[in-house]
């Protein structure tokens, strides 16, 4: 039952662990520790989400010949903090004749699922919230719940634009989850495990999975990036909140902190997609060519973050260069091209493993 790995690589955690155990009975101590870790995770990733917003704005500025936020703090570092404060202090307005219960519930669906998914990633050898033996499956299941929040938000806010956005989101997520799932499955086939830490172990000895699986793995990676971008509802697949068509799509009627939840969730989802890609294709926290293998003091979590940021940069690059697809083209792309390609690719991967062509 002890899914929590407590030894986060700082001596402070050990000290706190000892101290809590010394003043409480075993059960109470466990529960306290879970809560503490959960709060730490929440704080960490809320801040991470905020800084991804800042990164996006900076990247957008570089693409668009602008400077980006640079007034609040050095290089605008506190800009998103200020924005978040503003959103917290704003009035929560709502539309007339809404479904109050669902309307209020929807943002939590989205934000809670995103934050939950963060817990299973192996950020470094010791830094993993909990390591279940069906980690990949868990991620997949959790990320599917998020769309319910979007559907509920669109439905309950009594706004036709929001409803159209939500329906588009339903179409999009149901379709692209197949591609995300199948490309993940391709890699699971190669690694032979659903447990994320196990997948990393495979890569420690045999090299990153994208090299091990060569051609089918590279195809799977490309499909994963396309489908992952669609999963996070980002351009060129941002039909859900297509600004020039639907105003703001499903969150048109949300204000203040509830809007901020949707907004933050988008960025955390981007982080999740990038993290999945890093774990499944690029060896998670493993250094490239083992260059920091023997260095004990080097924080491996840095490698994880660098890889994740590179992939996030790729996704931002998509967003600021491509126009948006139309809804029927979106479905055509998935059902006519990506899905068949993915199935063939899965078969190819099976053949590669069967004939032992892996590197």
């Amino acid at each position: 039952m002890n899914l929590l790995i407590m030894n986060i690589p700082l001596n402070i955690t050990g000290t706190i662990h000892d101290w809590i155990n010394s003043i409480m009975p075993q059960t109470a101590a466990n529960i306290t520790e879970w809560v503490l870790i959960a709060v730490a995770y929440l704080a960490l990733f809320a801040v991470a989400g905020l800084y991804l917003v800042l990164l996006e704005r900076k990247v957008a500025a570089w693409f668009q010949l602008r400077l980006g936020p640079n007034r609040v703090g050095p290089w605008g570092l506190f800009q998103t903090m200020a924005d978040a404060l503003k959103l917290v202090s704003k009035e929560l307005t709502s539309n007339d004749r809404i479904d109050k219960f669902l309307y209020n519930l929807a943002p939590y669906f989205v934000i809670v699922t995103s934050l939950t998914a963060m817990a299973v990633f192996p950020y470094s050898e010791q830094f993993q919230g909990f390591d279940i033996n069906i980690g990949v499956f868990f991620l997949f299941a959790i990320s599917s719940i998020g769309v319910i929040g979007i559907l509920v938000a669109g439905w309950s806010s009594n706004n036709k634009f929001a409803l159209i956005g939500a329906m588009r989101s339903g179409l999009q997520t149901i379709s692209y989850e197949l591609s995300v799932g199948l490309s993940i499955l391709t890699m699971v086939l190669l690694s032979g495990s659903l447990q994320l830490s196990e997948i990393v172990e495979v890569q420690r000895t045999g090299g990153w999975l994208i090299w091990q699986g060569h051609i089918p793995a590279i195809i799977a990676f490309m499909i994963f990036m396309i489908a992952g971008t669609a999963e996070t509802n980002r351009a060129p697949f941002d039909l859900v909140e297509a600004e020039s068509e639907l105003g703001a799509g499903f969150h048109t009627e949300y204000s203040g902190m509830k809007f901020a939840y949707f907004f933050l969730a988008e960025f955390i989802n981007m982080f999740i997609i990038a993290s999945i890609a890093v774990v499944l294709f690029f060896g998670a926290w493993l250094s490239p060519f083992g260059i920091t293998e023997g260095i004990t003091w080097f924080p491996e979590v840095l490698w994880f973050l660098i890889k994740v940021l590179l992939i996030i940069f790729l996704m931002m690059w998509f967003r600021w260069t491509f126009p948006r697809l139309r809804v029927d083209q979106l479905l055509t792309l998935e059902w006519k091209y990506l899905l068949p390609l993915n199935l063939v690719n899965l078969l190819l991967m099976a053949i590669v493993i069967w004939l032992n062509w892996t590197i």
């Binding site: 957008a60 693409f63 668009q64 010949l65 602008r66 036709k160 634009f161 159209i164 351009a235 060129p236 941002d238 039909l239 297509a242 600004e243 020039s244 068509e245 639907l246 105003g247 600021w320 260069t321 491509f322 126009p323 948006r324 697809l325 139309r326 809804v327 029927d328 083209q329």
Partner: protein, 373 residues
């Protein structure tokens, strides 16, 4: 069950949706009443009047010099061409022949205005299709034109540079050099526009075959400008009824025959090259001469009706003045290109999706104050 029975059984209810007056794709305050079945558009009903300033009525109150200033506020992106249209009408009525210098400068500045307008359109077109970056590229280059205008006449957008009988001031000494610099700069940047948007596969998918306007429809709806020329309707006033210095320059009338959003896009992209070529032909030999003909302080047109048309960035602008011999016109009517172009929107967007409507509207390049004077 037959196909039809299935269709009837799963038939969904049509509903109305208000696109605008506050909507990102409306570019101002255009309100479209859409009848939608799912995402398929059944009917588009434009609703105007949100920015009606009764410019035509105000013209009846004002003297002819004052009317010029009101026309800036119609199609603000081709403000100089609007001014020119009124001045040409008044000069026609007075049988006043302006000097060659005025004609050439008017042509150059009008073409710069057209370039600036098309640049803005290009940026907004990309933005409407979801590619936000185009907007900033376009604004970077448009800024140079605005600076040229600012130096010469003090204003960047609503220029008021033309007056009946000539120009308000002579061009700034830097004008020629800066215009040349801009042309050299923009010749390197226009291919960049193409690389960013034109060849993009998503862009082509979104625009090719979308919002098809046939040549017959274009003619019968009175469509003009790049929209008409995208449907193969040769309607360029500059070519067929030259005014100012257009009869002495060599330029092509851009015609595409497909009539879809993509060909309207291509017309404007090609027109930018043509505009640059027109400016290049004129900029090196601006003739010497007076920049103003002397007119009376109070201009009184002879009794009668006067009409002049020009080609703005959006199409054919007609100025009709009915004078009873007083210092004010008896009636002024502007035939604005946007209004006629908007009338065809419902016809060509039945049965398309919301996203297609947005793409079509972007390719029409509406300026709402021009539609709703």
């Amino acid at each position: 069950m037959t196909n039809q029975e299935v269709k009837n059984k799963i038939k969904t209810e049509e509903y109305f949706i208000n696109m605008g007056p506050q909507h990102p794709a409306a570019h101002g305050v255009l309100r479209l009443l859409l009848t939608i079945d799912g995402e398929i558009i059944k009917n588009v009903e434009p609703d105007l009047g949100y920015i009606h300033r009764s410019i035509e009525k105000m013209c009846e109150r004002d003297s002819y010099q004052q009317i010029v200033h009101l026309t800036d506020r119609m199609d603000y992106l081709s403000s100089n061409i609007n001014n020119e249209a009124v001045c040409l009408t008044v000069e026609k009525a007075l049988e006043l022949e302006v000097s060659d210098r005025v004609k050439v400068i008017r042509t150059i500045i009008s073409e710069l205005t057209r370039l600036a307008s098309h640049q803005l359109w290009w940026g907004v077109m990309g933005m409407d299709l979801g590619a936000l970056t185009t907007y900033f590229y376009a604004f970077r280059d448009r800024e140079m034109i605005n600076d040229i205008f600012e130096e010469t006449c003090g204003a960047r957008l609503t220029m008021n540079y033309n007056i009946p009988g000539g120009l308000m001031f002579d061009i700034h000494p830097n004008f020629v050099q800066r215009t040349k610099d801009f042309i050299t700069h923009f010749k390197t940047k226009l291919p960049e526009y193409d690389r960013l948007l034109t060849g993009n596969v998503i862009f082509e998918k979104r625009t090719k075959g979308v919002g098809i306007l046939t040549k017959e429809d274009a003619i019968s709806f009175g469509v003009s400008g790049p929209v008409a020329r995208g449907s193969g309707f040769a309607s360029d006033v500059r070519k067929h009824h030259p005014y100012s210095a257009y009869d002495r320059v060599d330029f092509k009338e851009i015609l595409f025959t497909e009539g879809d959003t993509y060909s309207r896009y291509q017309v404007r992209m090609a027109e930018m090259w043509e505009s640059m070529s027109i400016i290049e032909q004129l900029i090196d030999n601006i003739p010497e001469g007076a920049i103003q003909e002397t007119t009376k302080a109070v201009i009184k047109l002879p009794k009668g009706e006067f009409y002049q048309r020009v080609e703005t960035a959006r199409g054919e602008l007609g100025v009709y003045i009915n004078s009873d011999g007083n210092k004010n016109p008896y009636r002024v009517k502007f035939r604005s290109p946007g209004f006629s172009n908007l009338s065809v929107l419902n016809h060509i967007s039945k049965g398309v999706k919301i996203a297609d409507l947005v793409a079509t509207m972007a390719s029409f390049d509406f300026v709402i104050p021009d539609i709703d004077r």
